[in-house]
């Protein structure tokens, strides 16, 4: 027969061949799957529906209503003016700053942990990070007040030494103060997220770049950082949204003296300031959802650009 197919060759690519991708590496075509293959996801979908979709729809619907239940957009108009607009600006600035600082410090810390050959150090950092990443609220606020608050232990020691940070522009009860306090849980969260992708960087890539004449800095510039960029971006979005939605720590620390969206919303819904402002509070909530969605889409877009080699 004039033409024949060599099974061995087509499976792995011909030597000197023209075009023979490995079928094992080619994604299978999306075909029609049997309906019961997705049955295991039902509990998760129910959970998502009850605790994410239904509340989100409820927030948006309520935001478009007035106290009598009639359709209105006035809540949104009010939500982007005055103190509420300021609260959005403050929240975005705080979340961005806190996210950037935690991303930089967290990545460096995760790199240091991964570079350590001591397994005990790695285990301690991982388990410690898991604990600290979930610490927040009133206890965290109190621990900072007790140490670097106006009359905290460290502030007192520094004052006795002739340097009162509060006389030099520092305040724990400011956006800067909150940025610092948020690092307590954001940096461990970043470490926790970044250890797996850093450990996935193969030693062969480092060795190959060295043998090709690259310095360590060149390896990071052309290989390491491009490979880590997608997970770093993803982690930054997680940190941003985590900081953006944080309520208890900010409330306990500032008692509402700084306009932040979660605190404003909390005050409106609980009726602490004015009764009957629930709909406006939900408009702020809808705004928060919109910002998180924008962040998510932005991430997806940037990741698509940064990791075209994954497709």
């Amino acid at each position: 027969m004039a033409s024949s197919t060599n099974v061995g060759e087509s499976a792995q690519g011909r030597i000197g061949g023209v075009d023979s991708p490995n079928p094992a590496l080619v994604r299978p075509r999306r075909g029609r799957r049997s309906w019961h293959s997705g049955i295991g996801t039902i509990p998760f979908l129910v959970y998502l529906g009850l605790f994410l979709v239904v509340p989100a729809i409820s927030v948006v619907v309520t935001a478009f209503q007035n106290g009598a239940g009639t359709f209105t957009v006035s809540n949104f108009i009010e939500a982007v003016h005055g103190v509420y607009l300021k609260s959005f600006i403050n929240s975005i600035q705080l979340s961005f700053a806190a996210g950037v600082v935690a991303t930089v410090v967290g990545v460096l810390a995760a790199l240091a942990v991964c570079a350590s050959s001591n397994r005990i150090v790695k285990a301690l950092v991982s388990s410690g990070s898991a604990v600290f990443a979930n610490t927040g609220g009133v206890p965290l606020a109190f621990s900072f007040i007790a140490t670097v608050g106006n009359f905290g232990v460290i502030t007192k020691l520094l004052t006795d030494a002739g340097f009162n940070p509060y006389d030099h522009g520092f305040s724990l009860y400011s956006v800067l103060g909150l940025t610092i306090v948020y690092q307590y849980f954001l940096i461990p969260l970043m470490v926790l997220i970044m250890i797996p992708p850093i450990e996935a960087l193969r030693k062969e890539w480092v060795d190959a770049s060295s043998s090709l004449g690259a310095t360590r800095a060149q390896f990071w510039r052309w290989v390491g950082i491009p490979l880590l960029a997608p997970p770093i971006l993803a982690a930054f979005i997680v940190l941003f949204t985590d900081a953006f939605a944080a309520y208890a720590t900010a409330e306990a620390l500032t008692s509402g003296t700084i306009a932040l969206v979660p605190i404003q919303r909390g005050a409106l819904i609980s009726g602490n300031v004015l009764a009957g402002q629930t709909n406006l509070g939900e408009a702020l909530g809808a705004g928060m959802i919109a910002i998180v969605l924008v962040a998510g889409f932005l991430y997806a877009y940037v990741q698509r650009k940064a990791s075209k080699w994954l497709r």
Binding site: E204, S211, W309
Partner: protein
């Protein structure tokens, strides 16, 4: 060390450098990965480091590449002592076992990486990568990312990447081990063709004896951080100097017998087998053990034969026969496929020595 005669080599293409590993030592706590290892490669020679896992072959290769710190010894490339030079300054191309391509770069960008590091102009980089991709037959795949290439294609790109910097020495650390048998065999030939074409001094690490025999100018058989024997593939196979080499490179039968003259052993249930006596100073009448290759034994169908067939393994051009006798002794004999068809399950068989034993040792 004198350069061995090589049946595989096209000697007029050689233009590489000499490489000398002198007294290399490497310890991991108390375990010696390399024990004062010495090895010299002639310009353009392909030396295969062969041995079981943990014998130190990869450590030796990494020490030569500058990727492994040494506890002692000297690495010379040409007349230059590179022992203290980092890997990035040694001008050595290395191909690793697998998955060493940078996944965020296309095949072309991977090949150009070393040139980019050296600040070679973009046009020169493109020209060089085009040459090399053509050499390995992957010009059409230049813009593909590693995950879009097969395992064999990835390893060929890794080879091109290592060659792009025009290295003085090429190191290949089990580059074929993750590939299937057919691609492995094809790529092995491809590597040898390119190595001969470029005349580059090459070290190839493997634990696959067939790969070593097919590729090498010389094979260094390693064991526990030391070179047990270094010689041409033919000599390593047919004249092993130690029991370990005899058993690691190819199959052997271990048989008991009595030395009946200075070059002959009377082997139980088989008869006389000759051997090269120059390295075996035993006296006549000594009880000895004979190591002999399966293909060095012959079979006769005989009504008085003591041997019976247990099983046949078809190997393509040859067949491996497992035989036993009434005392429970087992022997493997390898015959051509044509000869083996004459042997049936109930045949009574006699064995005889067709050619010399490899080694004779005191029992």
């Amino acid at each position: 060390m004198t350069q061995a005669t090589n049946t595989n080599t096209n000697s007029n293409t050689r233009n590489g450098v000499t490489v000398d590993l002198i007294g290399l030592s490497r310890y991991y706590k108390d375990v010696a990965a390399l024990k004062s290892m010495n090895l010299s490669a002639s310009p353009g020679e392909l030396i295969v480091l062969l041995g079981p896992s943990g014998c130190g072959k990869t450590t030796a290769l990494r020490a030569l590449a500058g990727l492994e710190a040494l506890d002692g010894g000297t690495v010379m490339i040409g007349s230059k002592d590179v022992t203290r030079l980092p890997a990035s300054k040694r001008n050595i191309g290395t191909v690793f076992q697998s998955y060493s391509l940078f996944p965020n770069m296309t095949a072309k960008a991977n090949v150009e990486f070393g040139l980019k590091v050296r600040k070679v102009s973009s046009s020169d980089r493109s020209r060089r990568s085009a040459e090399l991709l053509d050499l390995i037959g992957l010009s059409a795949q230049a813009d593909r990312y590693p995950h879009q290439l097969s395992g064999g294609q990835q390893q060929r790109v890794a080879l091109a990447r290592a060659l792009a910097i025009k290295p003085e020495v090429l190191l290949l650390d089990e580059p074929l081990s993750a590939l299937d048998a057919k691609v492995r065999s094809q790529l092995r030939d491809e590597i040898r063709r390119i190595q001969l074409e470029l005349g580059i001094t090459t070290f190839f690490v493997t634990h696959d004896q067939e790969e070593a025999l097919a590729l090498a100018d010389r094979i260094a058989v390693m064991r526990a951080g030391e070179i047990e024997q270094i010689d041409t593939p033919l000599s390593v196979y047919s004249q092993p100097t130690t029991e370990f080499v005899a058993e690691f490179v190819g199959n052997v039968n271990r048989l008991s017998g009595v030395l009946v003259s200075q070059d002959k052993v009377e082997v139980d249930s088989i008869g006389p087998i000759s051997y090269d006596s120059k390295n075996t100073p035993f006296h006549t009448g000594a009880n000895v053990q004979v190591l002999i290759r399966p293909e060095a034994l012959g079979i006769m169908i005989s009504s008085t034969g003591q041997w019976r067939l247990i099983s046949k393994s078809f190997l393509g051009a040859s067949v491996k026969l497992n035989l036993t006798n009434p005392t429970g002794q087992r022997v493997i004999v390898e015959l051509s496929t044509g000869e083996a068809t004459l042997i049936e399950q109930d045949s009574r068989l006699s064995l005889f020595g067709k050619s010399d034993a490899l080694l004779v040792q005191r029992a």
